[in-house]
């Protein structure tokens, strides 16, 4: 959901489709792993990795502004950036599978939940769910309760009109890239610890996020949230009632269905 929101956020505010999102996700995870291994402190490692993720997102946006080079070239540049970042990660970290070092109390399943309600949930998943919910509230607050958010929404509605009333579209674009970068970095730091690091680990989350965004509608954050929950629900239904094998197709199958039947998505507003 966070990946979808970040991806959609950038598109909504500056029509920027950032396909390097998955690679930023990968790089942040590897950087956090590296900083933790050289023992510079847990919080500082996370903060530093996240900062680099945000800066990288801004940098990619700087070169790939769709208003400057066109949307297709912009998307192509982000894909190229994704491959470049992935290549750098492979070159620097090699081919091994790395496991993110976790504090022992975060590792494994939450036994209290399991013994009380009988549902096994990983501690890291609980942390990810709670922090991403808090982040979602933060994004909502930013968009609907701040001046900056008014500016974003104005740009989303009509860029030229927004500029006429004094919204600096260029600056807002960079800010949206920063917000998107922070969201993907946070998602990476929350999800990576429960898995394994490998150089192309970012493509699966990117594709799933892309599917969710299509279903929810490009340009609609509400749609992304509802679609994320809906896609997860359909995923579980297919898993248990049809076959686990077909559940992997759910995000993209729903995306294809949405394009065919309702191209704007559930709540999308394409320009």
């Amino acid at each position: 959901m966070m990946l979808g929101i970040g991806f959609n956020f950038m598109y909504t505010t500056s029509q920027f489709l950032n396909f390097a999102y998955g690679s930023i996700y990968t790089l942040v995870a590897y950087l956090a792993y590296y900083f933790l291994r050289i023992s510079i402190g847990v919080w500082f490692s996370y903060l530093l990795a996240m900062t680099i993720g945000v800066l990288l997102s801004i940098l990619i946006y700087h070169f790939a502004q769709p208003q400057r080079i066109g949307s297709l070239r912009s998307a192509a540049f982000t894909i190229a950036s994704a491959l470049l970042i992935e290549g750098i990660v492979e070159e620097f970290f090699g081919e091994n599978y790395y496991s993110f070092p976790l504090k022992s109390y975060l590792a494994g399943y939450n036994r209290i939940l399991y013994h009380t309600i009988g549902v096994p949930v990983q501690n890291q998943t609980l942390l990810a769910a709670s922090l991403s919910s808090a982040t979602l509230l933060g994004v909502w607050f930013l968009l609907y309760r701040t001046k900056l958010g008014y500016g974003f929404r104005a740009l989303a509605l009509d860029e030229s009109q927004a500029e006429l009333v004094g919204v600096n579209a260029k600056l807002m674009g960079f800010i949206s890239a920063a917000v998107g970068g922070s969201l993907v970095s946070e998602a990476s730091l929350l999800l990576s610890p429960s898995g394994v690091l490998y150089p192309d680990m970012g493509w699966v989350p990117l594709i799933e996020a892309f599917g969710v965004v299509i279903v929810g509608g490009l340009g609609s954050l509400r749609g992304t949230v509802i679609a994320a929950l809906g896609v997860s629900l359909v995923y579980e239904v297919v898993f248990y009632l049809v076959s686990p094998v077909y559940s992997a197709l759910v995000p993209l199958a729903l995306a294809a269905l949405t394009i065919a039947l309702r191209p704007n998505g559930l709540y999308g507003r394409l320009k």
Binding site: Q15, A75, E95, Y97, W203, V204, P244, I259, P263
Partner: protein, 501 residues
């Protein structure tokens, strides 16, 4: 940005992604029901003799990145070269081992003067391309492009290639071999479809040879033999093997698992693994499921197995999903005790990478095909190929030791295969006295060579004849080391078994 251009872009992106997934699905076959199996090859096991468990462990250095440079021993300036192309997932330890094994093999061959054709010494050299074989998101065309680049751009005359379980990519590569007319020695993938193609259309697919591992049908046999031994040991209370009745099977949804799980494999057992475990070995298979290759959360599967009181989880996993699985299995709150995990768990052979990647949670995980320390193999499972000389006097001990010395880690099974493939190729070229593809193919078909992986012979459909290929079952122990615990060459022995804790 106009709406039309966005639609067009999204549609193209979706089509490309779906096409990649569809290509993967095309070669997958759903599980079908089959008849019960009546034949059996399981024999009675004699009580093992008491052998003391003393052994040395080998500390491992950190793994350096493998080189992709051209390798050659000291050769005269006028030396002629044969270029071997390596198409492997170089970004993963699986592919790195293929490249390392090839480099090691090339060094050995070259140090023995290379290959002599009509009095002229030819030395091997290596070029490599990444086939993205371990990236389940990469379409099969990536592997095809890697091989094409090796042949058309890098000048490779022979290809050693593969991955661990990306059957779609291997079949895609096989489909272009009639056009490339280049010999392809496959290591890593066990799918029977490739050699079935050779049998169906030998003139087109004659270029394909599977060097290692044995195909999926044989893998099914190995599974049953080991679980039969495990059953015998558990029933007789031997070696701390727990008494297991309820079994769960978790298999990747990939082409290589189909012949093991279904009746279409055509192997000696020719049956479904779930039914074979029940009808032949007397286990109670309470759970059996495929899972998508992109699975990272195995909680629903673990929950289902916990509910059904599974005591043994049989795994068929060839990609990094096994790392996710083991990490979650290792920390799952099992209400009835942690079940044993045993099966084909390809990455479990990575030493010490798998232990590190699973944060040490791989303790007690058993896998087929790992290459345990050769000191233990030599002492407890001595390889016996009396009457036959190892090619280049290079056996598995030297393969293991040289790999640790040069690359810092023991060979993965793919590395053992690629090393053997180099020896097989050199031997075939030497016998053919030619680099002509058709002549080398004829020579390859007559291969009978003792290599580090065992005696390599090919069947009529260019598959590996597994009759003399020692395969070890190995288990990770809580001390972070891997030990061989069983081999079908010595069926009455299980050693070093450590129950899950």
């Amino acid at each position: 940005m106009s709406r039309g251009s966005v639609y067009a872009f999204l549609l193209v992106a979706i089509i490309v992604i779906e096409a990649g997934i569809a290509a993967e699905l095309v070669v997958h076959r759903p599980v079908t029901q089959s008849e019960a199996i009546t034949n059996t090859t399981i024999t009675n096991y004699t009580t093992p003799t008491g052998i003391p468990f003393t052994l040395a462990t080998t500390p491992y250095a950190a793994q350096p990145s493998p080189t992709q440079s051209i390798t050659q021993a000291a050769q005269p300036q006028s030396a002629k070269y044969i270029t071997i192309g390596v198409a492997a997932p170089l970004t993963s330890p699986v592919g790195a081992s293929i490249l390392n094994g090839t480099i090691l093999g090339v060094q050995v061959v070259n140090s023995h003067g290379g290959v002599i054709i009509n009095g002229t010494h030819y030395f091997f050299r290596v070029v490599a391309e990444d086939n993205q074989g371990e990236n389940v998101q990469a379409p099969p065309s990536t592997a095809v492009e890697a091989v094409e680049k090796l042949v058309y751009q890098d000048g490779a005359q022979f290809i050693i290639g593969g991955s661990a379980g990306n059957s779609a990519a291997e079949e895609a590569v096989e489909s272009i071999l009639p056009y490339l007319k280049t010999i392809y020695l496959e290591v890593g993938d066990a799918t029977t479809a490739e050699t079935l193609n050779v049998a169906a259309n030998p003139s087109a697919y004659k270029y394909f040879f599977r060097v290692f591992p044995p195909n999926s049908s044989m893998l099914g046999t190995y599974l049953l033999e080991f679980f039969g031994a495990l059953k015998y040991y558990s029933q007789n209370g031997l070696e701390d093997v727990p008494n297991v009745t309820n079994v769960g099977i978790l298999a990747e949804d990939a082409a290589w698992t189909q012949p093991i799980m279904t009746a279409n494999g055509g192997g000696p057992m020719s049956g479904e693994l779930p039914q074979d475990l029940e009808n032949i070995l007397g286990y109670n298979v309470v759970y059996s499921s495929f899972f998508p290759l992109t699975t990272t959360d195995f909680t629903p599967y673990l929950q289902q197995m916990a509910t059904l009181h599974v005591q043994l989880i049989v795994t068929l996993m060839a990609t990094d999903d096994s790392i996710y699985f083991v990490k979650q299995w290792g920390t799952f709150p099992w209400p009835n005790g942690k079940p044993l995990v045993a099966g084909i768990n390809v990455l479990a052979g990575l030493q010490p990478g798998y232990w590190n990647a699973t944060d040490g949670l791989a303790s007690s995980v058993i896998s087929l095909g790992a290459i345990p320390p050769v000191s233990i193999i030599d002492q407890y499972f001595p390889e016996n190929f009396s009457g036959q000389q190892y090619a280049y006097s290079f056996n598995i001990t030297e393969a293991y030791d040289d790999s640790v010395k040069e690359f810092g880690v023991p060979p993965f099974y793919t590395g053992l295969g690629s090393l053997s493939a180099v020896f097989v190729l050199a031997n075939a070229i030497q016998r053919a006295q030619s680099l002509n593809t058709d002549k080398v193919i004829v020579a390859l078909e007559k291969t009978d060579l003792l290599t580090p992986e065992g005696i390599v012979r090919f069947t009529s459909d260019h598959d590996l004849n597994a009759a003399n290929i020692p395969i070890y079952w190995a288990q990770w122990h809580s001390n972070g080391q891997i030990y061989p615990i069983w081999s079908y060459l010595y069926p009455s022995k299980i050693f070093f078994f450590e129950p899950p804790s």
